[in-house]
Symmetry: C2
Subunit: 208 residues, 2 copies
DNA sequence: GCCGTTTGGCTAATAGGCGTAGCTTTCTGG
DNA sequence: CCAGAAAGCTACGCCTATTAGCCAAACGGC
C-alpha cells in the first residue's frame, strides 16, 4: 500500500540501469518485468508512467544517442582537422566500451515515417552533425562531405560493434588496430580534399 | 493425422524463409510459431526436429556465415590486390543487401566458452580467413595483417549495418559513398605495406 | 501380409512476457 | 475536509517457448 514514488523519468532511469547491468545485450534483454522488480512494483504499474515497452526503449535510445553526441562534441571542442577526428572517434569508442548496452540502444534506427520517432530522428541527425562539423575542417568539397562522413561512421561504428560482439580475438592488440583504422580514415578523408595538404598530421603519408 | 514430412533440415529451411520474409529484422523476429504455421504443424511438433529456438537460430547463423564466406570467396578467385579487395567488399555488401535478414543473423557472435557454438566459431573464423587471404596479397608485414583485416571488416560491416538500419538518408548516393570507402580502405591497406607501391589500381574502381 | 518398434504428429499444461480493465488506496488542491 | 486525480494493485487475455504424455503413421523383420 505504500507508494513507490515513480515518475516517467524515474522509470527511464531504472530502465537504463537494467540496460547497463546487462552488458552488450542489456538493451535487447530489457524487459518491463525487470524494471518493475528493480522499482519494487508490479509490472502493470509501470503503465502509469510509460506508454509501452516500445516507448520506453525509444526514450532510452534517445538518451543514449544524446549522450554519444555530447561526448563526441566535448571531445572535439578546441580541436580541428586530424586531431579532432581522432579525438572524436576515440571518445565514440570509449563511450561504446564503457556503456555497451546503451551503445547497442543507439543502433536502433528511427522509422522515417513514424511520427513517434521524430525526436529520435532529430537526435540522430544531431549526432551525425558532429561528424560533419569535424570533417568540414578538412576543407572537402561539399559533395564529398557526405561520403567522408559515411566512411568515418562506418569505420568507427563497425569497429566498436565488432569489438563489442566479440568479433576480435586476441584482445590485447585491439587498441593498436583502432589506431591503424584511424590512420586510414584520417588519410582517406584528407585525400578527398582537392588541394592535397591535410590540415593536421597524416601518420601514414598521403598519396597524389 | 497426415504427416507433414518434416526433418531437421526442412525446419531450418523454413526458418530461413521466415527470416528472409522479415526484412532486416527477420532474424530478430524469428519465432517457432511462424515456422510451425509455415509448415502446417503445431508449434511443439518442431521439437521433434530441433532442440530449441536457440539451436535453430544458431544453425541459421552458421548457414548465413557460410554463405557469406562462399560469395566472398568466389568473388576473389583469380584476383589479387586492390581488385580482389574491392570485389570482396562489393560481394559482401551485395549479400547483405540481398539477404538483410540473413546478414543480421551473421552478426551474432559465438560464445567463446560455449561448446555448442564450436561450429559457429569455426565458420566465423573461416569467413575472416577470406579477408586475411586477400590482404596477404598486399605484402603486409605479418604483424600488420591483423590490423588491416580489422579495418576492412569494420569499414564494410559498419557500412552495410548503417545502410540496412536506415542510417543513411538520401539513398541515391550510397553506392558512391561505398566506393569512396573502398578507396580509403585500399589506399590505407596499401599504405601499411613497407615498400609503398600498391599492387593494383588506386583510383575509384568499377561496379555495375 | 502381419506385428512391434520407432517416429512424428497431437493436445494439455507450465512459465514468462506485454498489455488492458477495473478496483482501491493515497495524495493533493481547493 | 473532502472530491478527484494519481498511483498502486489483482485478474485477465493473448502471445511466446518448452515439457509431458498420448496416439497414429510408417517401417523392419519375418
Amino acid at each position: 500500500m505504500p507508494r513507490a514514488g515513480l515518475s516517467p523519468d524515474a522509470v527511464v532511469r531504472l530502465a537504463i540501469e537494467v540496460v547497463d547491468a546487462g552488458g552488450p545485450t542489456g538493451f535487447a534483454d530489457l524487459t518491463l518485468a525487470k524494471i518493475a522488480a528493480k522499482a519494487g512494483v508490479a509490472a502493470p504499474s509501470l503503465y502509469k508512467h510509460v506508454g509501452s515497452l516500445a516507448d520506453l526503449r525509444r526514450e532510452v535510445t534517445v538518451i543514449a544517442v544524446r549522450e554519444l553526441t555530447a561526448v563526441a562534441t566535448s571531445a572535439t571542442v578546441g580541436r580541428a582537422g586530424a586531431e579532432a577526428l581522432r579525438e572524436l572517434a576515440t571518445a565514440w569508442r570509449t563511450y561504446a566500451l564503457d556503456h555497451p548496452g546503451r551503445y547497442a540502444a543507439t543502433q536502433i534506427g528511427p522509422d522515417p515515417d513514424d511520427p513517434a520517432d521524430a525526436t529520435l530522428r532529430d537526435a540522430a541527425a544531431e549526432s551525425v552533425q558532429v561528424v560533419v562539423a569535424v570533417l568540414r575542417g578538412f576543407g572537402l568539397p561539399d559533395d564529398r562531405v557526405i561520403d567522408a562522413v559515411r566512411a568515418v561512421r562506418a569505420g568507427v561504428h563497425g569497429f566498436v560493434t565488432l569489438e563489442l560482439g566479440g568479433g576480435f580475438r586476441m584482445r590485447e592488440d585491439v587498441d593498436q588496430s583502432f589506431t591503424v583504422l584511424l590512420d586510414m580514415l584520417v588519410a582517406g578523408v584528407a585525400a578527398l580534399a582537392p588541394s592535397a595538404a591535410p590540415p593536421g598530421d597524416t601518420a601514414t603519408g598521403s598519396r597524389p
